[in-house]
């Protein structure tokens, strides 16, 4: 019998708030965080983005980090979410645990802001190592005492989902009794321009699955979970927030940026997550879609959903209409939103949707309250066809 992976803590920060309470409030009030940039300096300031409200200085003040220390914004956002997750779980400070981060941007904000200085003289040499993904996760770990293993997954927009899957493997295999896993990513000029060069950024707030959708809006933030072996959590009297019953990872192996028309990778990833959980499509009460708002993703994901669920597609929505596409962090942020939805009995709205598209499923655009959700799927897909899906369940007691 495989060790069961439960969730005892969750932390979140995004454009719709710092922490779980603020996030739930924004979602129930249908308040999107997508709007004008206030912190990132770019020539493309006309592009709507989901920027976290706090500046770097504000985040450092919140975390008690000296203002003069250079810290990647990705790490700052991550620390906020990891702190909230660990505090909720009430993990002992000295518990030997692992941190699995997920990021692609890493310290790119530092590199792009100091590029001239870094390339010409030696004054900024100490900042060069901060560029990497790994250094950003190491910086997060540095704020805590218990991490005896640290690593980072980097699969672009599915990084956090894969970090949660790896974290779950570390628990399931018996390597650790508890693991903190998720992802964080800040906005940078680098990837704003990158997505802009691919011409997949909408100049209006995004409209996932809508017939008139014209691309995604970038966002930023972090989402982390405390994953724990069930018995370990019960023994120390922790409150169990949910269960990670299954995870699936598959490769679309179709194109570096485009998803296949039949959504093969997405279909396989969702199917694997269900199979591991021992569930069928009919057991799924809600799907938090990858739903970026690009023409290609939403039609490909819809094809995969139709293949998996047939006519009986459960309620689907994309919370990227609230947060923007938080890229590497999205799997973590959306997993936390799924847990909050199960806990509080709501289905998040899919803002901006107006007109059905024959190529797309019809999302649960208005959202719902007062529902009971037992099992939800959370999708994260990425460049390179690195598609992953997490199956989260309500905790119904020890089986």
């Amino acid at each position: 019998m495989a060790r069961r992976v439960v969730i005892t803590g969750a932390g979140i920060i995004s454009a719709i708030g710092v922490g779980k309470e603020a996030t739930v409030r924004s979602i129930l009030e249908r308040r999107s965080g997508i709007g004008r940039l206030r912190h990132l300096v770019t020539a493309h300031s006309d592009l709507p983005c989901g920027e976290a409200a706090l500046s770097d200085a504000g985040l450092k003040a919140l975390l008690g980090i000296p203002p003069e220390e250079v810290v990647a914004r990705t790490a700052l956002l991550g620390i906020v979410a990891v702190k909230e997750a660990i505090a909720q779980a009430g993990l002992p400070e000295d518990e030997a645990t692992a941190l699995v981060g997920g990021t692609t941007v890493g310290g790119m904000d530092i590199t792009e802001n100091h590029f001239g200085g870094m390339t010409s003289g030696d004054a900024f040499n100490a900042l060069i190592p901060l560029h990497t993904c790994g250094s950003s996760t190491d910086r997060i770990a540095g704020c805590f005492k218990g991490f005896t293993s640290v690593t980072t997954t980097s699969t672009a927009c599915s990084s956090a989902a894969n970090s949660i899957a790896l974290g779950a493997n570390l628990v399931r295999s018996g390597r650790f009794d508890s693991v903190v896993a998720g992802g964080s990513e800040c906005l940078t000029r680098y990837h704003l321009n990158g997505f802009n060069s691919l011409m997949i950024l909408d100049h209006e707030p995004c409209r996932p699955f809508d017939a008139g959708r014209a691309g995604l809006n970038l966002g930023e933030g972090a989402g982390f979970l405390v994953l724990e072996e069930e018995g370990h959590a019960l023994n120390r009297g922790a409150r169990i927030m949910g269960v990670l019953d299954g995870w699936g990872n598959a490769c679309d192996a179709y194109h570096q940026t485009a998803s296949s028309p039949d959504g093969e990778g997405a279909f396989l990833a969702m199917g694997k997550a269900l199979a591991m959980a021992g569930l069928g499509p009919g057991d799924v009460d809600y799907v938090n879609a990858h739903g970026t708002g690009t023409v290609n993703n939403d039609s490909s994901e819809s094809a995969a959903l139709r293949r998996l669920f047939g006519e009986a597609i459960p309620p689907v929505s994309s919370t990227k209409s609230f947060t923007g596409h938080t890229t590497s962090a999205s799997g973590g942020i959306e997993a936390v939103i799924c847990l909050l939805a199960m806990e509080n009995g709501f289905i998040p709205a899919n803002l901006g949707w107006e007109k059905p598209d024959g190529d797309c499923i019809v999302p649960e655009h208005e959202g719902k309250e007062g529902v009971s959700l037992s099992h939800v799927l959370c999708n994260s897909f990425a460049f390179g066809g690195n598609d992953s899906s997490l199956l989260l369940s309500k905790y119904e007691g020890h089986e």
């Binding site: 060069s197 691919l198 011409m199 194109h255 570096q256 940026t257 485009a258």
Partner: protein, 85 residues
């Protein structure tokens, strides 16, 4: 027109990193995408950049490029009619 076609072929090979091909390997009338040269949606974006950088032609969306990028000849015709540099 033939001169512009040759110029475009050279620029296409450079922009799309087709180092191992020569301009004469591209048939000016053959389709650039799918069955012809086998280019994809990212190449279409690179071709749009090529028009912008070299001829000052700015297309609004990849959809607009569909007719223009049918072959090197259709590209050349569009460039000579619309170039501003």
């Amino acid at each position: 027109m033939e001169e512009l076609i040759l110029e475009l072929k050279t620029k296409i090979l450079e922009a799309l990193k087709l180092q191992d091909m020569a301009p004469e390997d591209i048939d000016a009338d053959a389709p650039l995408f799918k069955d012809g040269l086998g280019l994809d949606s990212i190449d279409a974006l690179e071709l749009m950049l090529l028009l912008e950088k070299n001829y000052g032609i700015k297309l609004k969306s990849p959809a607009e490029g569909k007719e223009i990028f049918k072959s090197v000849r259709t590209m050349a015709e569009y460039v000579s009619a619309n170039r501003i540099k």
